[in-house]
Amino acid sequence: MNILMAFDSNYCKPAMVTMQSVLCNNPCEIRFYIIYSSLLPTEKERLQEFVAGSGHGTVEFLEVPAELFAELPTLRWISKETYYRLMAQKLLPESVERILWLDADMIVLQNIEEFYHQDMEGMLLVACSYREEGSYEESLRQLTLPADTRYFNAGMLLYDMKAQRNFLPLQVYEDYLKVFGQRLIYGDQDVLNAVFYRCVKFAELEKYNLCTNHLEKVSRKERPELLRNCKILHFNGSIKPWEEKYPFVWGYLFQKYAEMLPEYDEVDFEELKRKHKAARRRYLNYKKKHKEEGKRLEYSFVVKIAGKTIRIVHTYQKVFQISRAYLENRKDAEIDIKIEITKQDIQYEKEQYIKTHNPEESSDIPELKPADYEVAAANRKVAEALAEHGVLLLHGAAISVDDRAYLFVAKSGTGKTTHINLWRELLGEKAVVVNGDKPFVQVGEQVTVYGSPWCGKEGMNTNCAVRLAGICLLERGEENRIRKMEFNEAFPKLMSSVYRSKDAEKAQKIMQMVGMLENKVAFYQLQCTPEPEAAKLAYEAMGEDA
């Protein structure tokens, strides 16, 4: 049996427990392939010695450069190392025809040889699909996969390497990363779901990738039966059983294999168990308290938007998912703004949505879910808070070229998106969409436009800050014409595209900020057709001034 894993020094110890569990329950010849970038020679030696010591295993190391994938999005529990499995096809020797990928937070509880040698029915991959609704919607949307796609968890993957070599060009991973790189939510798992779309044979989740968070959700009565049938257990989630604050009861399954390794000699498992118990009490109390108070379990994350560090307390996953590219990963970051999205906020957005989308006027209003209203509420609350910090929210499309940004303002449906897409066609990679719908604009000594996660249905945004050189009021025209405008002439349209607070004082402040734009940015009126010449004219005219 070939087993593929990827880890570096920081995950070496837990990974050994996974390996130990494979060796214990599978008496056949096991060959481990380990992709790494920073294992120490001593660690490699130790791994080799430990596997050889089992009497039926060997290890091969496949090194990748440390800077590989460094640019890609990671989460606290999705490290850079998981991306390494995308290199499997490139790194593994041709002699490997089949291989089983295991995350380093998995435990093999039983013999899996039969599973390993199964008929893959012409598919390139065997994996397990999550049934949790909603969690992967945003990934599928970002990957432009159909909404009914069965998204698989990439913790356990059985690869037919021979078929992959025949059918998958190596380039495919790189291409996907290039296109979707910063839009990935679940890291390389998203990439794999796109690459192997429709090439997957699905295996029983409960048997081959039983996630401990699933165990938490089923009743106590069902748990023993589930565990009895489970062959591969996955300690998914952000807290792991080797950590003191692990609040679940599955630590003993990890301990069973960890105890066999001298690496864990110093760990006092009794003490660890007590700590887990304490953590569990805190966790259950927290849950109970919330239930009693009729409160929801809330989540929070920290983003950096328009130069400010913002903690967002939320309920649904979506607002977190769309904010991926803006996460503040420094743990000690000082929080400038804290916003909390309440049930009332969500209800308010729903009312607003219904009010502004009159069903009598148009028949195909897309139906929105609470998660969508929460996204809108987050935008409103962040805008309200940022107004206090000299930042405006504008309805418009901002594009950056040559370190300068231009903002196109017009009513919805006029053709802002069409126009900035013409810029992208004209200028290629030189042109970067800062935000396709609602950029933040900081008005200070100079005027800076920022990307943000809220960017309209096309999803165009970039986490960047660029000097705003011009604001252009866009209109449809029979021919293309551009002219400079005075601030006062541009004011009415500009003001109606600005997010105005309901708070009188704040509204006044916002209006003052708009007033400060005079003399700091140039104003234009562009009448344009949806033809490439429109972009050329606008780019050249505005670029000359700036």
Binding site: F487, N488, F491, P492, M495, S496, R500, S501, K502, D503, A504, A507, Q508, M511, Q512, V514, G515, E518
Partner: protein, 88 residues
């Protein structure tokens, strides 16, 4: 006749706009621009002036004939009525 609560005149540079705030913003999300004499009239309205007083104030402030002051006042009030800014 008076201005409904929640309508505020806001100024920046030479720009003057009337917007709705607080609860009023739920029913009115547009804005009404006023010129200099419009702002003057708004302030009189806020002080409780009625139509004839508004016209008189215009005459006194700008020294214009009563006839054109009355026409200006009518136009001003008309704009506010059509936007639902006034109440009897």
């Amino acid at each position: 006749m008076k201005i409904k609560t929640g309508f505020k005149l806001m100024r920046v540079g030479i720009q003057n706009i009337v917007v709705a705030v607080e609860q009023r913003a739920e029913e009115f999300n547009g804005m009404v621009r006023l010129n200099e004499s419009g702002c003057f009239l708004w302030e009189q309205l806020e002080k409780g002036a009625q139509k004839t007083e508004l016209t008189e104030a215009l005459v006194a402030e700008y020294g214009i004939p009563a006839e054109s002051a009355a026409a200006d006042t009518d136009a001003f009030l008309n704009t506010l009525w059509t936007n639902g800014i006034l109440v009897e």
